[in-house]
């Protein structure tokens, strides 16, 4: 059973930050999808609802997604369906059900750096940055590695390019969380191979990405790159699958994703 002592609905980021950092137990409310499961003791629950962070904006050279944007909005947004083969809508569409996706937010998912996340894996293949109120703009990759000191994730910025991106996932039951997921993207031979739900959080497979950029992209090259990804990343076991199984299907998902990008 969770407990919340107070609730704040600040009007500015500055005020939000003040409340958030006033006490260690003060916490920002995200989509709250998983709140009930835990037994967290929250001092002040800080709600970002008044900060106008629910947006998907198409700019000249970028697309920005506000922290309070729900997965359902991402799933149905015409801009996101249009760009990057619609990888973001596709990646979030598998997650449980419409109702949950109407609650879960982009910001909370990224800030929590969930290992099982499909959204993060897809986003990581798109050169995305995150904007933190205090920490400023940092690459998603860096943020995933380092996290952030208590801060407010304001938005995500994705460079608007003709990057082609593909998402692959393996699930036991279709409404389950992924056993493994993968995203592969390419823009003018700049390849990104990303694997998540390992079950640790998503990571770029550098060697595999580089190899693809320099290879002839033959069938053998693709298989070798997939092999590289499985070798350079680490995998773990949980109730959804063993380390060995994840390693085995990593090759398959990455291979399939590369082929789909090339198709």
């Amino acid at each position: 059973m969770i407990s919340i002592q107070d609730y704040a609905l600040p009007a500015t980021l500055e005020e939000t930050y003040e409340v958030l950092t006033a006490k260690k137990s003060n916490t920002i409310l995200g989509g709250c999808a998983f709140l009930r499961i835990g037994s967290k003791k929250i001092g002040v629950a800080v709600d970002l609802a008044k900060l106008n962070l629910d947006f998907i904006n198409e700019k000249n050279d970028s697309i920005e997604i506000g922290a309070m944007t729900t997965f359902r909005k991402i799933e149905t947004n015409p801009v996101l369906i249009k760009y990057f083969n619609g990888i973001l809508p596709k990646a979030v569409s598998h997650i449980v059900g419409v109702q949950l996706r109407n609650s879960v937010t982009a910001g909370a998912t990224i800030y929590s750096r969930y290992g099982f996340s499909d959204f993060i894996t897809a986003l990581l293949s798109l050169d995305a940055d995150v904007v933190l109120y205090k920490g400023g703009q940092v690459s998603l990759e860096t943020f995933l590695e380092d996290g952030a000191k208590k801060d407010i994730l304001v938005k995500v910025i994705i460079p608007k390019t003709d990057r082609k991106a593909v998402f692959q996932t393996m699930r036991n039951s279709r409404s389950d969380y992924a056993v493994l997921n993968a995203a592969v993207s390419n823009k003018e031979n700049d390849w990104k191979v990303v694997v998540g739900a390992r079950p640790q959080r998503a990571k770029i497979a550098r060697a595999a990405s580089h190899y693809l950029a320099e290879s002839q992209l033959t069938k053998e090259d693709i298989e070798y790159a997939a092999e590289l990804a499985a070798n350079e990343l680490t995998f773990g076991s949980n109730i959804r699958g063993s380390r060995e199984y994840r390693e085995a299907i990593c090759k398959v998902l990455v291979k399939r994703a590369i082929m789909e990008v090339l198709a």
Binding site: I4, R36, R72, V98, L100
Partner: protein, 149 residues
């Protein structure tokens, strides 16, 4: 804290603790159609609409719906019965415990999907679990209700 909401077109002032979830507040105020099934956002039984959108009331803090418009199946009885007629004629309500949440999702889907297909119906409804019917009868009912061949 006090929250002011419109529930089923009625303005109401509710008292809810900061850590109370909407499902519990609604049940406490007598909206007993709203059922709890899982506590983990996995089953869809507690589905109600907030500003016309289906959400999980077990994953929504009551304080966050302050000023919003909430709809439970008690508020859309006429429309619910129109669909339930198809459901009941398939025998696909069975125990009925998941039906209110399921119907709220079906009615939301009807508003949202301009051209429903079997595939998009199944996708939209995936967050609603049912342990009795095996889903097949529910799908027959939805397709008949929406006129999907």
């Amino acid at each position: 804290m006090k929250i002011n909401v419109t529930i089923n077109n009625q303005k109401r002032e509710l008292e809810a603790a900061y850590d109370e979830f909407l499902v519990d507040t609604l049940r406490r105020y007598g909206y007993l159609s709203v059922k709890k099934g899982c506590d983990t956002g996995s089953c869809g039984l507690c589905t109600v609409w907030v500003d016309e959108k289906p959400i999980l009331s077990c994953a929504t803090l009551s304080v966050r719906v302050n000023g919003k418009n909430i709809t439970t199946i008690e508020g859309v009885q006429k429309e619910a019965k129109q669909f339930a007629d198809f459901l009941v004629n398939e025998g696909a309500e069975q125990c009925g415990f998941c039906s209110p949440g399921f119907i709220m999702t079906v009615l939301a889907m009807k508003r949202e999907l301009a051209h429903p297909t079997e595939e998009s119906i199944v996708h939209y409804l995936t967050g609603n679990l049912c342990r009795c019917t095996g889903y097949a009868g529910q799908l027959r009912a939805v397709k008949k209700y929406l006129g999907v061949v």
